[in-house]
């Protein structure tokens, strides 16, 4: 991708807006319990904030922002967060993903469920963000080679 011709307005605006999109994405992930939202929607927004920078600024800068090689491991980490939440309850003696068994002391069962949902939403959000960025990167990978 050639970025040399992008105007300073685009550069400035996208860099100014991106953090707010990211903030709103985090809000959507964390506030999914009370309003429409959750991991996938918030993750898509987080990805959008990163992709905005990717489109606007040149490669050297946006690689500092979010590195290409980071996508797949980060996504794997997201699924592992989800997976580990399920696995913990197997080790403690319940079924897979049984939030009653989460080792968080001092919470009522319903609060445990609430916390469990939050953890997996964060995992899903992380995965969705990382993968959407990674797909974008891979699809544009070698435009120059063709």
């Amino acid at each position: 991708m050639q970025h040399s011709s992008s105007s300073p307005i685009i550069l400035l605006l996208s860099r100014a807006i991106s953090p707010y999109i990211m903030l709103f994405g985090i809000y959507v992930v964390l506030h999914g319990h009370y309003s429409p939202g959750g991991g996938f929607q918030g993750g898509a927004m987080l990805a959008a904030s990163v992709l905005l920078i990717r489109i606007a600024v040149e490669e050297k800068v946006h690689q500092m922002h979010f590195q290409k090689g980071l996508g797949i491991p980060l996504a794997a980490l997201g699924v592992i967060i989800f997976f580990a939440t399920g696995l913990v309850s197997i080790f403690i003696g319940g079924f897979f993903l049984d939030y009653n068994m989460l080792p968080l002391p001092g919470l009522l069962p319903a609060e445990l469920h609430n916390a469990g949902i939050l953890i997996i939403e964060i995992g899903v959000g992380l995965t969705v963000m990382a993968i959407l960025i990674s797909i974008y990167d891979n699809l544009l990978e070698d435009d120059d080679d063709v």
Binding site: Y34, S35, P36, F40, V128, I135, N138, L139, V146
Partner: protein, 122 residues
Amino acid sequence: MFDFIAGHYNYWFIILLISIGMYGMIFKKNLVKKLIGMTIFQAAVILFYISSSVKADTTVPILLELNESADVNRYINPLPHALMLTAIVVGVATVGVAFALLVLIYKRYNTLDEKELIERMK
């Protein structure tokens, strides 16, 4: 009769959408258009679930009062929404993979037209 139509028209519109999607997938020769047809098809199925989950005189499935027992007749059916959230993600994933394949095909054959592709593959 009128009641019947008022109660079923959403299904018929969705069938129309499904037919459009299938038409695109079967008859269009360009692979991207096939993919668009596929997306329309998936969206139609998702719409089927969502439009069928309505209930008369109800609101969105976010509790208005946080008390112990909610009234079943006050909120619409939440399950199809949850299912379709998953189905949407699956659709996104499928489209992503399809685009990756298209990029690969275009790199190797420099065309996305089905007839030409079959010619060039020989």
